[in-house]
Each structure stands twice: as structure tokens, then as C-alpha cells.
């Protein structure tokens, strides 16, 4: 199973990434993807994303490896942007290729839940010139925790 992991400032092309994953092998029958974007409203001007270079890549690789151990996957692409992003801009892409949709859907959700609670990124919100760090949500911890059961 191939995992492509990129931490970058630049935007990404979702169609290109999905097309590349679809070519991972003749056994690929499904690609599921998730795109996270900066949610506008509430006077939000922008988000700035900071991360821990080195640990981020290692932690995401660990999460991808765990997904590969749980489901039969042919490929994973994870792209996470950093820096200043405005409402409507893409932040993250998780795309998973598998033989069947069940594994692709489940692994995609698992990867997102773990990314949100394990990968060392921090968001700062800008509103009218004032900056504030985003607080972690208990609901994100609960979403990741449910994968431990059963």
C-alpha cells in the first residue's frame, strides 16, 4: 500500500489527486475522498495553520500505516496545507483507494478522525485584526475514540 503524504503551503487539485490514486493498481475499485475547507462566517477573515515539521509527517505516516493494517487498501493520499488560508480555501485532502467502497469509506473517515486528534497542527483564527488560537473539541476526541471499540 502506497501512502503519499504532503504538507504544503500551495493548494492542490482534487481531480488530479484522485486520478493518480485510481492508477495505483488494477485491483482498485473505489476511491473515497474528503476535502476540508476554511468555514467562513462569524466574521472570520482567515486561518493560519502552524505545524511541527518532522513529527507531522511521521505521525501521519503512522496513522496511514494503521489504516493499512485495518483495511485492504491500495493507496492513500493525504495533503494538509499550512500557512494563512481564507474562507472557502481547501485545507486538507484525504483520499483512499481500495477494492471495495466499504473499506474506502471507512478508512477515509478513520484517517480524518485520527488526523484531527493526532497530527500536530494548530489553527489560529483572525477576526477583525485580532488573532485567537482554536480550542480542541471534545467531539473530535470522541470521534477518534470510537475506532478503538470493537
Amino acid at each position: 500500500m502506497i501512502a503519499n503524504i504532503h504538507i504544503q503551503i500551495e493548494d492542490f487539485d482534487v481531480a488530479d489527486e484522485i486520478a493518480a490514486l485510481s492508477e495505483d493498481g488494477p485491483e482498485t475499485g473505489a476511491v473515497a475522498s474528503f476535502v476540508g475547507m476554511v468555514r467562513g462566517g462569524d466574521d472570520l477573515t482567515a486561518l493560519t495553520l502552524e505545524h511541527y515539521p518532522g513529527m507531522t509527517e511521521r505521525e501521519i505516516a503512522r496513522i496511514a500505516e494503521e489504516a493499512g493494517g485495518r483495511w485492504a487498501l491500495s493507496g492513500i493520499t493525504i495533503i494538509h496545507r499550512i500557512g494563512r488560508l481564507e474562507p472557502g480555501e481547501r485545507i486538507v485532502l484525504v483520499a483512499v483507494a481500495a477494492s471495495h467502497r466499504g473499506a474506502a469509506f471507512a478508512a477515509c473517515e478513520f484517517l480524518m478522525d485520527y488526523l484531527k486528534t493526532r497530527a500536530p497542527f494548530w489553527k489560529q483564527e483572525e477576526r477583525g485584526g485580532a488573532a485567537q488560537w482554536v480550542e480542541a473539541k471534545a467531539s473530535d476526541d470522541a470521534a477518534a475514540e470510537r475506532w478503538r471499540k470493537g
Binding site: G36, Y52, E59, M112, L115, P120, W122, Q124, A136
Partner: protein, 83 residues
């Protein structure tokens, strides 16, 4: 040891990293955090309530009881908020 700070921890202590010599008194990450609180000022603000903080040892998540060694990379940061 190389000690790194991220997000509001970095802002409160006023630096992104520093070298702190490993000593027998700094056996665990918790010991290191207690030493940093004792510096007062922004350090006391950042490390006063360890329940608000997370730590990593050599680029992997670690608890306060994780044992330190010379040359380790230790990081302190708030709970993560990516994705």
C-alpha cells in the same frame, strides 16, 4: 536536549526552541515541565496547568511520565487542531 514550543505555548514563553541540559533531576517530561514553571513569567503561564498541554518525545506523542535522555527532542504544545 532540544526543547520545542508550538502555538500559544511558543507565544507565552517567547521562543520556539531552546537547549536544556539533561540532568538526573529531569528524569521525566513532567520533571522538565515543573522546572519550566519554576522559571516564572511566561513559562509559569504556559506550564502552570499541564492539563491544557500535550507533549512529544522524539517526535511521538508522550505522557508526562515519559523518561528523558541526553539528546532527546521534547516538544510542548496545546491539544492539536488540524484537519
Amino acid at each position: 536536549m532540544n526543547v520545542l514550543y508550538f502555538a500559544w505555548v511558543r507565544q507565552k514563553v517567547g521562543r520556539s526552541d531552546e537547549v536544556i541540559e539533561h540532568t538526573p533531576a529531569l528524569r521525566t517530561i513532567g520533571d522538565l515541565a515543573a522546572m519550566l514553571v519554576s522559571r516564572g513569567g511566561g513559562y509559569a503561564e504556559a506550564f502552570g496547568d499541564m492539563k491544557r498541554l500535550r507533549a512529544a518525545l522524539n517526535q511521538a506523542h508522550a505522557g508526562l511520565d515519559a523518561v528523558l535522555a541526553p539528546g532527546d527532542e521534547v516538544a510542548f504544545f496545546p491539544p492539536v487542531t488540524g484537519g
